[in-house]
Amino acid sequence: MAEFLSLHDAVARYVQDGATVAMEGFTHLIPFAAGHEVIRQKKRDLTLIRMTPDIIYDQLIGAGCAKKVIFSWGGNPGVGSLHRLRDAVEKGWPHKIEILEHSHAAMACAFEAGAAGLPLAVLRGYVGSELPSVNDQIKFIECPFTGERLAAVPSVRPDVSIVHAQRADRQGNVLVEGIVGVQKEAVLAAKHSIVTVEEIVDDLKAHPNACVIPSWAISAVAVAEKGALPSYTHGYYGRSNRFYKEWDAIARDRDTFTKWLDDNVYRAEENA
């Protein structure tokens, strides 16, 4: 059964220095409040997994939390580069980070395989791409029935996955709705999981085939109102496209970034 914890306590308990952490949310429901808590608690040497490391990972990388990033598309969607990611990769600031990159299809399948308890995912992927030459985790197998050459990647099985969702009921069952990405897979694939939610309700009001993650498949549920901003929560609030655009200027420069982090994360209250 999921335990109801404060976001501070959930992060303190489950995110250890050196851990492999997946914070997921495919543009929608990105767990920003939780990410900021990780920064505030100065977690270090994390291996950060995420299909689309957008500005939350830019912030974590710039704040020095990351040792390695495993991803398939690292940009500020519709705006441009992640300047902190680039600064780390290109110039080693605040320190060098390793990267391991995949395609979306491979990572999505790797999350699926992780949730399915398998060691590998098989897909018709990477045909003609040079990604396998720079990622030794991409292998190829032969189908025993047809002889076709198919790509294989290791499944994703994080130490802890963190996702944001609309709401939990009082037993800790969680409803995720709208663009559901790989969030359910991330939670099921991980040893531990933290789900932040907009609110706790008596009744999830879910339809029969809704994406509901049962309480007994989650480690901790923490309330984080507006916990996805500047990303959004379907049915609660919209995406702050304006902030995504503003981020470009903030992140471009180490000083403006550092000041932003001081003002908006280190000095901010949890969930503020």
Binding site: F26, T27, T52, S103, A108, G128, S129
Partner: protein
Amino acid sequence: MSLEYTSSEMMSVTAARALENGTTCFVGIGLPSEAANLARLTHAPDVVLIYESGTLQTKPDILPLSIGDGELCESALTTVAVPEMFRYWLQGGKVNVGFLGTAQIDRFANLNTTLIGDYKAPKVRLPGGGGAPEIATNAGEVFITLKHSKRAFVKDVDFVTTLGFGRDGKGRDNVPNIGKGPTRVITDLCVMKPDPDTKELVVVSLHPGVSREDVMEATGWEVRFAAQLESTPEPSEKELEILRELKARTERAHAGE
């Protein structure tokens, strides 16, 4: 007719026209999304747009800034999980056209969105592959749209993120279960198609007012022109009106929180 329009508008309208009504199209963000939605709002009301965020058959009223804006989900027939999107809908062979942008493209239509320079010590780190590597191989065919420049159109890409026809033009030969690959590249100057034999991109149509020299100057290899070089039809008044309204609606929406 002497309509006023920009080369960007010419590119979007030409790219939109490439999409036939009823086509199922896996849409990349940015220029492809603009073109695909313009197609839907003009000649192709029944084009089916799929975004990798899981939104199936979506009809956004404004262009999404990201691949997963709320607008895409709200106007979709349904929204599926991302693993399902890549497994059932793309790899499962349900997509007729993959519509992609890119940072770099070479003469064999290979795409690079990974980096400029050397992989271990990149000069410019780009966002990475995203959905493109498998869109380009699992969709029936691929349309590519981007602005023409010597930086973008290079003889050989620094890195093949996404297969066009390989570094020798033969990258799809004898590969089972693979799509046709890039069948056209639409830029702000021209339309290019792969030579049926060598797969090298050849200019087949010049946009109005664009010269061969303009294209040659913006292309990083000795670009060839088709024997029967055509002139791309101009945008219609209606197309321009709809495109401009779409962009104005989008800008208003994105300026708000």
